[in-house]
């Protein structure tokens, strides 16, 4: 082997490691900067204030509600996308993904124009006495809007994989589609669903732009932790940083916990892979 050929693989390894190092530094530095700015003792003192606790409680309540709503609404959509073929399916897929690429403020304006008092659907809602903007419900709706795609794409991928392997078997075993979904698809796709749920929750927790636009900013009712950080930032930097650290620690803990709790995937390739073309 010539020296040149020996250098190639080494260069590759070094290049990959360097790139990863840069990425880790870039992602890690802001997080580390947040952490070193606030000593732990002060952290606790800032958290224990009424305003912080209120914002934290509101954030947790709304994000959990939003995640449940996302799962409830998203699962049927994921089921349809994973198992059915129909005209216009691409359009549905894009529509479901859209909130992911839409700037949150734009989403907020859209929600306002749709569900605001003068909005398209808002007028009808107003007639039955329901006014959404400036309420906690608005916070949840904003979070649902931006977090939906995260759950749906994970759930669709998970269901699709399970469906392709086991749906036929279930059907030939007298299982109606509903029974097969409950007893086979859901249990086997559960890891994907949970992962999608975690992503959605994290996104909902961190939601800001759509919230401030659609729900407004009022402590106790609509001021979630990110909003408190942003507004607080402008008067009291230390408090804002402390709140940011709390958000950071909260998200990190939950995401890590979910990752550790996840058992190895339960969908082993049982038997030989089908060789014949269908």
């Amino acid at each position: 082997m010539t020296a040149g050929r020996r250098v190639g693989p080494v260069l590759w390894e070094v290049g990959v490691l360097a790139a990863v190092g840069v990425l880790l530094a870039f992602l890690g530095l802001p997080l580390v900067s947040l952490l070193v700015r606030v000593p732990p003792a002060e952290l606790w003192a800032r958290l224990a204030t009424r305003a912080s606790l209120t914002a934290l409680r509101l954030s947790l309540e709304t994000s959990v509600c939003a995640t449940l709503a996302v799962a409830g609404l998203g699962l049927p959509a994921a089921y349809v996308l994973a198992t059915k073929r129909f005209r216009g399916k691409r359009v549905l897929e894009v529509l479901v993904e859209l909130p992911m690429v839409l700037p949150p403020t734009v989403a907020g304006v859209g929600l306002l124009l749709a569900f605001g008092r003068a909005g398209l659907a808002g007028r009808a809602l107003g007639a039955v006495g329901l006014s959404i903007p400036f309420t906690t419900l608005a916070v949840v709706l904003a979070q649902v809007f931006v977090a939906c795609p995260f759950f749906i794409s994970a759930a669709t991928a998970g269901l699709r994989e399970v469906e392709s392997r086991y749906a036929d078997a279930a059907a030939t075993l007298r299982a109606t589609p509903g029974y097969a979904f409950r007893r086979v698809l859901m249990p086997l796709a559960l890891p994907s669903l949970v992962a999608g749920g975690a992503m959605s929750w994290a996104r909902a927790l961190g939601e800001f732009g759509a919230t401030i636009m659609f729900a407004g900013n009022l402590p106790g009712r609509t001021q979630t932790l990110p909003l408190a950080v942003y507004i607080g930032l402008q008067t009291d930097l230390q408090s804002a940083v402390a709140l940011s650290v709390i958000l950071l620690v909260l998200s990190f803990t939950v995401l890590l916990g979910l990752r550790l709790a996840r058992r190895p995937p339960r969908v082993p390739w049982v038997g030989r892979a089908p060789g014949d073309a269908r």
Partner: protein
């Protein structure tokens, strides 16, 4: 001609060069006159309520000073102060109240003494499609009132004005407290308050008189705040210590304080501070 092969991007400059070379007589004249690249940039951080006025003044200064480009950052004064203190490279800071100017000055970032260049007053706005009847409605239970956040100058002024109204005859002592209980959102700058009222989402909002611009006016109705209760906002301006372009910065401040500048401010709804 070979250079004009389809898809060849070399074709265009080649054509240009050809045209220039072929032009009869002496020095080739360019066919396209490009604007001269700006040699200097002036960065002004200004309160959101100064958007229209300052944009006009910026244009004016650019016209007078060839090679100068004026760039603005409009936001809530509290946000601008934070950015300046965190090291943002700005030449001029114009705040909507003394508090944030003092904050920046206390950080040692102001050159010289800040000058008050304008005043502003508050006004209540309500959606033209569903207006409230009068000031007293602000205390009506269930009313949706939107203010700027307390940290924003407009927000602080508005809260003070509401409390001031409580002391006037014709208003109950409870008025201020009830009105404040009706606040459904604390916006991050005064323009966001204008937007919410324009969209019809809020029943009322308290903003500066200068915020009711020609575009906004058709969609909102004004309810004046009596002078006895109204708050006069002081707008100080200062050149910043680490300004990248202090010369143009001083020129801008001078323009603000000059009669033509004051006229522009007045034309945009602000109250003049100099020679009034």
């Amino acid at each position: 001609m070979r250079v004009l092969k389809r898809g060849s991007w070399l074709g265009a400059p080649a054509c240009l060069a050809l045209a220039v070379a072929v032009h009869p007589g002496g020095r080739p004249r360019p066919l396209v006159r490009l604007p001269a690249a700006p040699s200097r940039t002036l960065t002004v951080f200004a309160a959101a309520s100064l958007t229209r006025a300052f944009s006009d003044l910026g244009d004016s200064l650019e016209r007078r000073t060839p090679g100068l480009e004026v760039r603005f950052n409009f936001a809530g004064s509290q946000q601008l102060a934070l950015q300046i203190e965190q090291g943002a490279a700005a030449d001029v800071f114009a705040s909507a109240d003394q508090r944030w100017m003092a904050d920046v000055r206390d950080s040692g970032l102001v050159e010289g003494t800040p000058r008050v260049f304008a005043h502003n007053r508050l006004v209540v706005i309500t959606p033209a499609a569903a207006p409230i009847a009068g000031l007293r409605d602000l205390a009506r239970p269930g009313l949706k009132l939107v203010l700027a956040a307390d940290a924003v100058p407009a927000g602080r002024y508005a809260r003070a004005a509401l409390l001031n109204l409580s002391r006037l005859p014709g208003f109950t002592a409870e008025f201020g407290r009830r009105a404040l209980a009706n606040v459904v959102s604390n916006e991050e700058n005064v323009k966001a308050v204008v937007a919410k009222v324009q969209l019809g989402e809020a029943d009322a909002g308290i903003v500066y008189v200068s915020d009711v611009t020609a575009e906004v006016a058709p969609r909102v109705r004004r309810i004046e705040v009596p002078d006895a209760a109204n708050v006069v906002a002081d707008y100080p301006v200062a050149v910043l210590r680490h300004a990248p372009d202090p010369e143009d910065a001083r020129a801008f401040v001078a323009l603000l304080l000059s009669p033509p500048g004051q006229a522009v401010l007045r034309a945009n709804g602000l109250l003049a501070a100099v020679g009034d």
